[in-house]
Amino acid sequence: MDKNSLLKAYHTMLLIKDYEEMVESRTASGEGPLMGLMHTHAGAEAWVTAVMMNLESSDYVSSTYRNHAHSIARGIDLNEFTAELSGKITGTCRGMAGNMHACDQNLNMIAGFGIIGAGLPSAAGAAFASKYKGADDVSAVFFGDGAMAQGATHESCNIISTMQLPVLLCNDNNHIAMSTHSSNNLCHESTTEYMKAYNIPAVTVDGMDFFACFDAVKIAVEHIRSGKGPYFIEFDNCRFGGQWVGDPVNYKTIKQKDEEFARCGVERFKNYVLENTLLSALELENVQNAVTKEIEEAIRFAEESPLPEISDMFVNTYADEY
């Protein structure tokens, strides 16, 4: 991987990590400008970055209520994103989406689906459109181990395989659905097992290992783009935060939490590039400084932005005359 790509990867991962730390801290303190319920995605930096770096801007992305990492790695305007989480009219979605749904449709992100598993049918539909138009666009959908128990997921996998749609199924397996471990919810330890039934090629990759993820996604995207149909990747990873900011996470032991933190993908990347002299300490420091500045600027933008007017509520219920 060339130096620019390494720098880009580190920048994206660090931006996600530090952004989520900021969200945790400002939500906990209540100092603003963020408002409402927050779901953070710390722990997903490495694999989400690896997915997005393999996608083109014309590809489709279907996100979830845990959308910060997806949006940041997709290249969302951080100022607008932060304004969105702050309910400001300058937000990506005019303050109508908030943390639960924020994403930028202009980046071909279909939605931040608030219902578990609900993003798979749309991803299949965008892939259908791509195939219908004779384009080679890939449709990437993010969904967790929790979604593996949803009907929408299974219906979609069946139809995606039957129609051989260009879908990259990105399974965010952090082994915890809200407070419940996947061993309570799923009849397989690995979610790839389900794909045998759907005749969809599937692999498991260590989601905390950026390089392993990057290689796995590259193979998958080449497979899909060359017209060979869908591909499923199980990203074995950790959710460092709670289900929401404020969740006491008393369903994991301290030992379990420490074991998860020890797997941190950003630290692992950093150590790897330093040990192998792929990037210098100074280069990493420069990235850190840039990230800190971007987040500060985003908070300032959100703080200074106006709240919506009451009249803004009545805009966009319909696209056409009503």
Partner: protein, 337 residues
């Protein structure tokens, strides 16, 4: 003499015409073609459970007229994603009663998307589905459920009562950039009327005064329009002049036309085949009451089915369905005030 067409064929003609003009329109649903997967039969073996899409697979091919597995959540949700990606999907739900298994994709996803994401990408899609009782198909294949769609902001809900309106409203629905729920009354499928061969568009939110009258207004929807007309015909012989209004679309709803009529006749009966609690008649009655206090001479009366499921047995199902006799009775009641 002008050409007559059955409602199912009028809908078919509208879809076919739109598909000829726009490559981005596709149809998806269960058994809308028929014969898919059996090369010895080929496509178009069935043309849908009620034959509405008959012939379309032959003309447009299996690429554009697609039979799906029995996965309503998947193919309805696919329409949302395909619309996002620039196509204009028309999806058939074989019976409105099946909305229960896929409602999330309609009311949470399709309906909210334009609003939630800042008005960037419209979701132009049409969900067509048959509604209505009277076919001895039992409680899970006979419902109306208008209210489940009308109550959700972001959706448009269309209810043609005849073949002419069905064609014009379907062409409008396909052209519209919002998610449209197009409800087709099963009984109307084989009813015919004059339908022009050329394309025409009926705007949403414009009610039709089906019959002019001065003594009482009856608001009907699909079946209850025909039943109201029959009641009006009988009462006319006694010198009672009934005005019958067909809203044609329930969302948007043309309250201006309804209120103008009610203010003229000062008496109103709202007749509806959907459930009586939180149903369309309840909604329309409330809006009339809110807006006409002191201006009308009688309470707003409703004709609605009983608060029970749709029974199978013929005598019971026929008693469940609102009839012209029920409407006539309510009209006589409202005239006593």
């Amino acid at each position: 003499m002008a050409r007559k067409l059955m409602t199912k064929d009028a809908i078919n003609e509208a879809i076919a015409s739109a598909m000829r003009n726009d490559e981005n329109i596709y149809l998806m649903g269960e058994d809308i073609s028929g014969g898919a997967g059996n090369p010895e039969v080929g496509v178009d073996a069935l043309g849908g459970a009620y034959g509405v899409t008959s012939g379309l697979a032959t003309e447009f091919g299996a690429k554009r007229v697609i039979d799906t597995p029995i996965s309503e959540t998947a193919f309805l949700g696919m329409a949302v994603g395909a619309a996002f990606a620039g196509l204009r999907p028309i999806v058939e739900l074989m019976y409105v009663d099946f909305i229960g298994v896929c409602y999330d994709q309609l009311y949470n996803q399709a309906a909210k998307m334009f609003y939630l994401y800042g008005g960037k990408k419209p979701i132009p899609m049409v969900l067509r589905t048959p509604v209505g009782a009277g076919y001895r198909t039992g409680a899970e294949h006979s419902q109306i459920l208008y209210n489940m769609f009308v109550s959700i902001p972001g959706l448009k809900v269309v209810t043609p009562s005849n073949a002419y309106d069905a064609k014009g409203l379907m062409l409008q629905a396909i052209k519209d950039n919002d998610p449209v729920v197009f409800l087709e009354h099963k009984k109307s499928y084989v009813m015919e009327c004059e339908v022009p061969e050329e394309d025409y568009y009926i705007p949403f939110g414009k009610a039709k005064i089906v019959r002019e009258g001065t003594d009482v207004t009856v608001i009907g929807i699909q079946r209850t329009v025909w039943e109201a007309e029959a009641a009006a015909e009988r009462l006319a012989k006694e010198g009672i002049n009934v005005e019958v209004i067909d809203p044609r679309t329930l969302s948007p709803l043309d309250m201006d036309t309804i209120l103008a009529s009610v203010r003229k006749t000062k008496r109103v009966v709202v007749a509806d085949e959907s459930y009586q609690r939180c149903g369309m008649a309840a909604d329309i009655s409330a809006q009339i009451s809110e807006n006409t206090y002191g201006e009308i001479d009688a309470p707003v009366l409703r004709v609605v089915p009983p608060h029970t499921h749709i029974p199978f047995s013929a005598t019971l199902e026929d008693a469940w369905i609102p009839t012209s006799e029920n409407i006539e009775e309510r009209i006589r009641e409202v005239l006593k005030f």
